[in-house]
Amino acid sequence: MNESYYIQGKKGVWELAIGLELHARVISNAKLFSGSQAAFGGDVNTQVSLVDAAMPGMLPVINRKCVEQAVRTSLALKAKINLHSVFERKHYFYADLPQGYQITQYKEPIASDGELLLDLPNGKIKSVKIERLQLEQDAGKLLHEQHSHATYVDLNRAGIALMEIVSKPDLSSPEEARLYVNKLRLIMQYISTCDGNMQEGSLRVDVNVSVRKPDEPLGTYCEIKNINSLRFIYQAIEQEANRQINILENGGQIDKETCLFDPIENKIKSMRSKENAEDYRYFKDPDLLPLVLDQSRVDQLKNELPELPDAKRARFISAFNLSFYDLNILLEDRANADWYEQLAEQSNNPKIAANWMISELFGALNKAGKNLSDSLISPKALSELVNMIENGHISGCIAKTVFATMFETGKSAISIVKEKNLSQTSDVSIIEDIIDNVLITHANNVKKYKDGKDKLFSFFVGETIKKSHGKANPIIVTQLLRDKLDS
């Protein structure tokens, strides 16, 4: 990727300014303001309390866990924790919003002024400023498939805690936006505040896009709501930027509006026009007092945070000497990193071990449509296999066969090697016998080689190893062949 991302219009180049608003569903047992279950999957309207259904006279009570998850996330984003924050009501009518308002934070969010570092492919690090993090309620779910002219309402999701995390418009390309979402998701996974599953809606993204000519001030932005995959973020930004450039280059102007991205048509659709602009009538929720946090509790939560991705990356670089590519894959997911860490601890060569994990294990899992957590091979088992190669017990070639069996059966490398008698041999007399046989069988080629066809050397190596059923130590094979053919 270039240092800067530009879109070439008909009348020159355009830069993008992108801000992201992520809605991350908080991991907790109960909902933000009620005691009903947050993790969903239950029967329709069974994870709903009287409070969630906004029955007359019901009142919200805040869940400590949700508050602390927001604090932990904010700390991981190096944000300032506001020890005094306030909940407000945001009013609009919608069938999935039982109260007729969403309880959210507005003027005084729980945290502000954070930062997220992006590891750009060119090896540089880019800082993206985070404006605010606020706690708010999720809405229920509307189903339109049940009936041709009616909508069905399920409130199981209503009232689950969300963290809205708002970035400054610091991002300048779709790729940076993708990296940002990925990194934020990774951090939340590391500290277990959000599972980050975009398909299930645990993480939803609104994108603010504006375009400008280089060195000009920020343009008017449009908001694209509720994007639920990384691929769509990419497409939506490109589409929206091109739409805006097209308008501007034709002498038009951008109206601040809210849009939806239609992934099927790959098109941006306007949601609310200006004249229907909502007036949310925010005001402090009189049912809820100010949320006041104790600095010592915040400090405690900070001290209890696990190692975060940036710190882990730095440590992996210095301890394991990994490539940029390897690091990205291993740190992509906390499970990957934890798995690798166990693997590396027991491996003589952590860098080779990383190759095995990434190319062989991930390759096989991918092919089988499985996740790392489904793997029958444990980090310890893979480290044993890798160490056997390192120690010269088996050849790399044999190792691949052994790996395949390990992957299928979950057996250890040692037992497979024993069972199938696959130990590498370095016994010179055995190898010499095989070589002699090969040279006799291929006397023609020996002649050709001696006449100067050097390329045939590797043919003899291959044949010898083949005849040894892969067990002959290739270094010794090479040595002996040189002695016999070149002397």
Partner: protein
């Protein structure tokens, strides 16, 4: 300040209430009588006064993260105008 018919209609729309054309004059007049009373507050300089939103002076108590509620679909839907298989049913919502 006072409101005109258009503002009254906008407010009504925001609140999902319909004011019919023949009520409109009365509604606007009544609202303006009351709003006129509000304007009395302009007499007071409140520039340096903090708004009072929390008369208790207390802060939010936080509950433990326990699943102690829900699980009663019947109670949730027992007063609903229209229910099908546990869902609330409403006229079609078009996104």
């Amino acid at each position: 300040m006072s409101i005109d018919k258009l503002t009254a209609k906008t407010l009504a729309n925001l609140a999902r209430i319909k004011i019919s054309e023949d009520e409109l004059d009365d509604v606007v007049e009544n609202l303006n009588t009351i709003i006129l009373m509000f304007n009395k507050l302009d007499e007071v300089d409140t520039l340096r006064v903090e708004p009072l939103t929390n008369i208790t002076g207390n802060f939010l108590s936080q509950s433990d993260d326990l699943i102690i509620d829900g699980g009663y679909q019947n109670q949730i839907t027992s007063n609903a105008p229209k229910v099908d298989r546990g869902f609330f049913v409403v006229p079609r919502v078009i996104d």
